[in-house]
Symmetry: C2
Subunit: 198 residues, 2 copies
């Protein structure tokens, strides 16, 4: 089976859109979706941004929220803006690298649902505790693992790998031949591209 890498950032609004549909679209196309959490912060910082471009450029930010409203309405997806935006996603990303691999996708969708479906803070340990407990995991041990040097290093390396691949925003899909597709609206082309590879 071909593998499509799904690079996502928990703070990213368009990653929410992609996370809620990517798995089922990939499955229909008989493609394995590999969930790759990373941090946009260091990548934005490298190009001189101190926060999300949606905050730096207000007209773009207003448009993004309106665009998201429309798309969520069309897809029957809940949308409650998290405050502040963007959320601090560091702990969620470290937890994502700490849960058993088979639970990475359900964990990630649960984080997005809490954040963008319910407007809850994903920097809040209580919110994250509930999510991991709902997945049947022991929270205390998991949080300890999430703060270990091993996990911190893995997240740094994964973020560096994204940057080396040419990732500059999220979500980004990377096909087995290295072809990049940026944005929830490029999910279908990414799947079609991957499918067509020999």
């Amino acid at each position: 089976m071909k593998i499509l890498d799904f690079w996502f950032e928990f703070a990213s609004s368009y990653s929410y859109l992609a996370a809620m549909r990517a798995e089922s679209l990939a499955q229909e196309a008989e493609i394995v979706l590999r969930w790759r959490p990373f941090l946009l912060g260091p990548i934005f910082a490298a190009q001189g941004w101190t926060t999300s471009p949606f905050n730096l450029y207000p007209a773009k930010g207003r448009y993004m929220w309106r665009d998201l409203d429309r798309i969520c309405a069309a897809r029957g997806l809940a949308l409650v803006r998290p405050e502040p935006f963007p959320q601090n996603s560091l702990l969620a990303a470290r937890l994502a690298l700490s849960v058993p691999e088979t639970l990475l996708a359900p964990f990630s969708r649960a984080v997005y649902r809490a954040e963008y479906g319910e407007g809850r803070s994903i920097a809040d340990k209580d919110v994250l505790t509930k999510i991991v407990e709902n997945l049947g995991l022991a929270a205390a041990a998991l949080f300890e693992r999430a703060q270990s040097e091993e996990i911190k290093t893995r997240l740094r390396r994964q973020t560096q790998e994204a940057q080396d691949l040419g990732v500059f925003g999220a979500p980004t899909f990377v096909a087995p031949d290295g072809e990049l597709f940026w944005g929830d609206d490029r999910l279908e082309p990414a799947i079609a591209w991957t499918r067509a590879l020999g």
Copy 2:
């Protein structure tokens, strides 16, 4: 008939994609497409950019060209990168406001074809002369009109109007109720939205 405003910038690569298909999609939906040329330069300058974000952020720029390659290939559209990028589009935009209104769309498509289909310079008076002559217009009189205070002022006002509407990039589609849609990939949603208006 409902009117959908099509805000475009001659230097913009994704405006090329939209310009080559927007008219026929609008016609099928029984919507009038109103072509509104404007300049992104002043809008970019207002947010501190001295050139295209595709130049300011190299990873984003590399991606844009690749994305454009793929989309042009899929649509059977020629693509030859103009040098330099972005092109100076001032004269083309002033000419667009100077041609008879019925020729605005064919003129604009001819400019995009020369620029992105053939990689020619649209700052080159010879290139533009050929385009207007092919449309049966008298070049000398048209260039004189394009440099008149009336046209210069109209272009400045039109750019200000775009900015006041919340336009921050091109192409942007604005529905009769003021709803904004940014990007060639939002053309279909813009048409569907406009169609659904009471």
